[in-house]
């Protein structure tokens, strides 16, 4: 299944109900990489294979991008139309931490350790989409 307007299609896998992140794994030392890497900076191997990074984790650190970034950001907003967005590292079950935009930017609703899940969302005003992490809905 192809998702339209995704700026990073090769790191997002759709083979089930929810999207997953794709990276790579070193065939020699088993280290995980996101996005996929061509060589292993840990053991110096050059044999890496595609690997799923997953779709769920816990918030490891976070901030809010409160000012409009300069290029290369291409969200297309002006300082007047810019809305702050959350940014965080999410620790996946394997231990790798993935940096991503967050679906929320409200400081009161973000805390280290909270469960997060992957989603796809538009950013800025141009209709372009990327992966984000959102708080796991309460059971």
């Amino acid at each position: 299944m192809n998702e339209p307007n995704i700026v990073c299609p090769h790191v997002v896998l759709h083979d089930g109900e929810r999207p997953k992140l794709m990276g790579s794994r070193c065939a020699d030392c088993r280290e995980l990489y996101f996005p996929p890497a061509a060589n292993c900076t840990r053991c110096l191997s050059r044999t890496l294979q595609p690997a799923e990074i997953g779709d769920r984790g816990t918030l490891w650190s976070w901030t809010v991008q409160a000012f409009l970034p300069k290029a290369p950001y291409d969200g297309g907003e002006t300082p007047e139309t810019f809305t702050p967005y959350g940014v965080g590292y999410v620790e996946m079950p394997s231990g790798i931490k993935v940096e991503a935009r967050l679906s929320v930017a409200d400081e009161a609703s973000l805390r280290i350790g909270m469960p997060m899940r992957l989603a796809l969302a538009t950013y800025g005003v141009g209709g372009r989409r990327t992966f984000v992490f959102e708080p796991e809905p309460e059971a």
Partner: protein, 386 residues
Amino acid sequence: MSTDDVAIIGIGLHPFGRTDGVSGRAQGAAAVRAALADAGLRWDQVGIAYGGSQDAGNADALCNDLGLTGVPFVNVANGCATGGSALASVIAAIRSGVAEIGVAVGFDKHPRGAFNPRPRDWGLEDWYGLTGLMLTTQFFALKIRRYLHEHGIGEDALVRVAQRAYANGALNPLAWRRSAMAYETIAQSTPLNPPLRQFMFCSPAEGGAAIVLCRASLARRFQAKPVLVRAAVVRTRRHGSFEVFSPSLAAQAAPAPTVEASRAAFEAAAVGPGDIHVLQLQDTDSGSEIIHMAENGFCEHGEQDRLLRDGSTLIGGRLPINTDGGCIANGEPVGASGLRQVVEVCTQLRGQAGARQVPGRPRLGYTHVYGAPGVSAVTILEGVGA
């Protein structure tokens, strides 16, 4: 002094901040001339030079300003660690016998506002920049948020670092920010990337800094108060360290390059953190300085809260940090910043720091610079002047 020791015999600064109408290169040239004058030397006596500038042109174009003498001049581009890398290279060159007298120089003139790097220059995919993840300020915020959480440090520590930086800057006639700032003003300034706020960040700026060095056995010919280089070490990141512009972090964390550079420097100098009388730590933002206090071995992780509260890091304290106001009060012209640190520590060790002089005749000083994408440079310096 052993035969391969190297000494600093000249220091020069062009004031940091904003100097409209003066190019970055002209500011670098002014710094070199000031450093040469301090050592009573001419540019045509210099046998080797290393220099860097991120946004103000090729450093070796300085030869057009200073004189075309045939000197081997190497351009250095190591981000915020450019100055430290240039200095370590000059020291290695003098030690190896390539030259007797060398110059390290850095200068810059950045546009206003945060830097805007290009993903491909850093080996990253375009989407990382397009989607708004490639900002140094975000990295600083994400790193210090996690660090404060892991080590039980309150956000007021971030305010205290900035407060001391502005207070020291107010005592430094060459600083950019020369007014002390109230705790509340810093604590209530605009959040840019929380927990970091506007007045907790240094700003890209302009300025120049230069150092003249020679074989230590020759030092007193040129300088009554030479400063001996006891160690100068550069290290880059290992797999697993938490660096700027990282789309992911490895499951198993590794120590920062600063930890390795610091340990190697202390070992080379055969001294410990407790022996240092005055120090400079990279304070791109308040949080970085807090992390660097522990990474350089000056305290345990988590101990910073107390040291910042009880005045230990003030000019009159046991551990005077960033006595000239650091990056926060001086701004950061990337090429020059690491050498400003060395100029300040030399000024302190020579007893020439005026209103901001560390009392009690400091003898051993320490400088630490850290830059993208994970480079750290440390020096340990000893004042040997009368």
